[in-house]
């Protein structure tokens, strides 16, 4: 009994900080429709800022609370500044570009934090008055935890009053529903949005600052926290603050018991909860159907045209040049080229789902990773020949696609994005935690091609053949009747249904095809690298795929291929010549989104007035 009570209190204490971050995210999303990836960075900055302030201010309760509140205010201003300088220019861009821009901010903030505070974890000391512990049923519970337990409901009540008893709150709720109408009634949208960003970022900063005495400020707080906050927001229902609190409680309490009883399950647990909730209630616990267009939106729906004879010749020339490249390129360049060739297939598979399919996957690395592990295990444990093992990758990834796709075609917008992200996190956690099978953090090594394919010439030709074949297959599918049905289901589901197309089935099939080919890319990647690691499934790889597609442009078929080349070149060059590559890559992403909201190839196509770039 005492064990249950103590774990329960521990969970409720953790829920408060999670709730603060998630409520900020949900408020920002509700009004501005921006899915702010940088929200986790504000949480991290809140913790670092609180460290600096509390160590400067005099010790004691006053200094501590002054530091915490000061940090929250500073982060609120940083958020307002971000809105004013960057996001304001992107409200009319597709949601995905906003997401991409905020991810650029994540990268920039990571390096800025590293410069400012250094690589060490920083732990603040609690003031004396908050140091003790209270005896609860024979076990001691830290006083600070009790303070945190109170903070959640206090902030919940304060937000409720703010949104229901003030004019500003009424305007915010109205704007959440129809911001254009609010503007037409004389309320300046841009000022409202800046204020909302101030409030949302302040809450994230407060969450980080309050967490500091429990958990050291570290450089990987941002992505960990944003993932959890997304899950909380989605489980609670997008835009519902009470829902966010309930979801934070549910997840934090389950986590607290999970850690105590069965530590291995903790990473998976949160996402399992989300998958179950979304399967039963597609809009979260207290959410209602969104009046938002599917992510991607109509502005991405540009007509695609099959390749003309000129484009076909150009494609053949490119493949021929690639096939001959081992003649002239050195070993290092060949390694990079092999990687680009494989990742191009990965990006093309995601593009197929996002562009023609209209389904955005935030966790495409899941299928890439499953494919790579399938090949690795087939070779390692069964000693199968390479080409047989490679066949296993689309089968394994496709099977996962069948299961996940079934859920995904029932969801839309942000919910869909979050479910795909959750699946990727489950696969990633499994790869880390099931070390008997997957080798855990160390991965599986010694996954080399068969002897006949060891030569760099032969191996590259194998990779090129399979990748180009996969890309060609996707292209064929886009311009086959199936592709037309798919685009009809994306652009006008009701009319598609009226003409005899079952949109759900068509999108499901596209999901499976896309995951199977992502799996092939993963399998080839394992062979090229000689091993598999959990990083193949990490969030970072899913984001890389999105960046490749978006850099190239969703609206064109060649886009993802060019995007892959640009992305790999950027990352590779930057990480070779500078140690601040994240900062530079982040700035490049932000500038590209600002300059070419249609992607590189989309921009070039518009410039040439030729839709089939």
């Amino acid at each position: 009994m005492d064990f249950i009570v103590v774990q329960f209190l521990n969970g409720v204490a953790s829920a408060s900080s999670l709730f603060l971050v998630a409520s900020g995210l949900t408020v920002i999303f509700g009004v501005t429709r921006v899915v702010n990836f940088a929200h986790g960075s504000f949480y991290m900055l809140g913790a670092y800022m609180a460290y600096t302030l509390t160590s400067q201010l005099p010790r004691g309760s006053l200094g501590f609370w002054g530091g915490v509140i000061g940090a929250a205010l500073v982060i609120g201003l940083v958020g307002a500044l971000l809105e004013f300088v960057l996001l304001r220019r992107l409200y009319r861009a597709p949601e995905l570009f906003q997401l991409l821009a905020t991810f650029g901010v994540v990268l920039v903030v990571q390096d800025l934090t590293l410069w400012t505070w250094g690589p060490e974890d920083l732990l603040a000391s609690r003031p004396l008055s908050l140091r003790g512990a209270v005896d609860v049923m024979g076990r001691s519970v830290p006083v600070y935890d009790l303070v945190l337990i109170a903070v959640g409901p206090v902030v919940l009540a304060a937000l409720h009053l703010l949104f229901h008893k003030t004019r500003w709150g009424t305007l915010v709720r109205a704007a959440t529903q129809d911001r254009e109408m609010v503007e037409a009634l004389g309320v300046e949208q841009s000022r409202l949005f800046t204020a909302v960003f101030f409030l949302g970022s302040l809450l994230a900063g407060l969450g980080g600052a309050l967490q500091l005495p429990r958990e050291a400020a570290s450089l990987n707080m941002d992505l960990a926290q944003i993932t959890e906050a997304f899950v909380v927001v989605v489980v609670g229902g997008m835009g519902s603050i009470l829902g966010a609190y309930l979801a934070a409680l549910l997840i934090a309490i389950l986590q607290a018991f999970g850690i105590a009883i069965f530590p291995k399950i903790t990473l998976v647990l949160m996402f399992l909860v989300m998958a179950v909730v979304l399967a039963v209630r597609p809009y979260g616990l207290l959410g209602r159907p969104q009046a938002v267009a599917r992510v991607g939106g109509s502005s991405l729906a540009v007509a695609l045209r099959p390749a003309g004879s000129w484009s076909k010749t150009a494609a053949a020339v490119v493949v021929a040049v690639l096939a001959l490249s081992p003649l002239v390129l050195g070993d290092y360049s060949m390694t990079v080229l092999t990687e680009v060739t494989i990742l191009a297939l990965f990006a093309a598979s995601l593009h197929f789902l996002m562009g023609p399919g209209g389904v955005v996957s935030f966790g495409h690395a899941a299928y890439f990773g499953v494919g790579s592990y399938a090949v690795a295990m087939a070779i390692k444990y069964s000693g199968l020949p390479m080409l047989v093992a490679v066949v296993g990758s689309p089968v394994a990834a496709g099977m996962l696609g069948v299961a996940v796709g079934w859920f995904c075609v029932r969801l839309s917008g942000v919910y869909l994005a979050m479910l795909t992200l959750a699946v990727a996190q489950i696969v990633w956690s499994t790869a880390i935690q099931w070390d008997g099978l997957t080798g855990g953090d160390n991965g599986l090594l010694g996954i080399w091609p068969d002897d006949w394919a060891r030569g760099r010439w032969v191996f590259y030709l194998v990779i090129l053949t399979i990748s180009a074949g996969g890309i060609l297959l996707l292209r064929r599918a886009i311009f086959a009747p199936f592709g037309y049905a798919l685009r009809a289901a994306r652009d006008a589901p009701l009319r598609a249904e009226a003409s005899g197309i079952n949109p759900g089935i068509v999108q499901w099939a596209a999901f499976v095809l896309s995951s199977a080919l992502a799996g092939v890319a993963g399998g080839l990647f394992a062979l090229a690298k000689g091993g598999v690691f959990p990083t193949y499934v990490a969030i970072g790889r899913s984001i890389d795929a999105l960046l490749m597609v978006l850099l190239g442009g969703v609206a064109t078929v060649t886009g993802p291929l060019v995007g892959t080349a640009v992305f790999v070149a950027l990352q590779d060059e930057l990480s070779r010549f500078t140690n601040v590559w994240r900062f530079i890559l982040g700035c490049v992403i932000i500038l590209m989104v600002l300059a070419f909201p249609e992607g590189v190839v989309g921009f070039a196509a518009r410039w040439r007035r030729d839709p089939d770039a």
């Binding site: 009424t170 709720r173 109205a174 109408m181 009634l185 309320v187 300046e188």
Partner: protein, 233 residues
């Protein structure tokens, strides 16, 4: 007070308005007539700044308003009542009115919730009801009431009688007539000639994004040939 001078507007590549010009004097009530798709809604939206005018000029109260943000246009005294009502369904009647509230421009008694409830008594009986629990007619009254709370000097109404029962149209007509009697200028886009004729003195007929005919509405009511040509009546 409103001068529209040769404006064009487009959605993407499709041009909807072609060099439209007309004027509305102080306290004048004008009906904007035309078939579905003639460009009535687009015209109101481009006056309001919700759809940018790509050519021409719009002046209101002596200022250029084309290119201005809708919120600034509203603050100059233009009130916009959208065709699909667009009330905030999560908010109560009183909260909807609060969103529309703005300080009055010089002169005149400002609108308050109580004055609104004298004009639309049925809204007064449901001040705490949420927007999604109201009938279509009640929502239509609320959307007009919400815009009035901004104390406009010219009210742009987009198809206020659309989809309402005859009895409700009757009540709505009376309320609008009393606003008209209080010297509020009106520009009403309306396919229903009879409803428009009760409120307006003058009519502008538009077809395919151009002004096709302008004149006293009383003449139009008698002229069945023009009605057949432009209204499909």
């Amino acid at each position: 007070m409103l001068e529209v001078d040769g404006i064009d507007a487009r959605y993407g590549h499709a041009q909807v308005l072609f060099g439209m010009s007309f004027r509305i004097g102080p306290a004048e009530a004008v009906a904007l007539l035309g078939r579905n798709g003639a460009g009535k809604s687009t015209l109101l939206k481009s006056i309001m700044g919700l759809v940018p005018a790509t050519g021409g000029q719009i002046r209101f109260a002596g200022q250029r308003i084309d290119g201005m943000r809708p919120s600034r246009v509203c603050r100059l005294g233009l009130g916009y009542v959208p065709e699909d009502r667009r009330i905030f369904t999560d908010l109560t009647v009183l909260e909807n009115l609060e969103v529309g509230r703005r300080p009055a421009l010089a002169g005149g008694e400002p609108w308050t919730a109580e004055r609104i409830f004298q004009l639309f008594p049925s809204l007064g009986e449901m001040r705490h009801r949420r927007g999604d629990r109201m009938s279509g007619g009640e929502q239509q009254m609320l959307t007009i009431a919400r815009t009035l709370m901004g104390n406009p000097t010219l009210l742009l109404l987009d198809e206020p009688s659309e989809g309402l029962a005859p009895r409700v149209v009757e009540i709505l007509g009376e309320s609008l007539a009393s606003l008209r009697a209080a010297n509020l200028a009106l520009l009403i886009a309306e396919p229903n000639l009879a409803f428009a004729a009760r409120l307006a003195d003058r009519a502008i007929l538009i077809e395919k994004g151009r002004v096709a005919h302008e004149g006293a509405i009383a003449d139009l009511v008698r002229d069945e040939e023009i009605q057949r040509a432009y209204l499909g009546a």
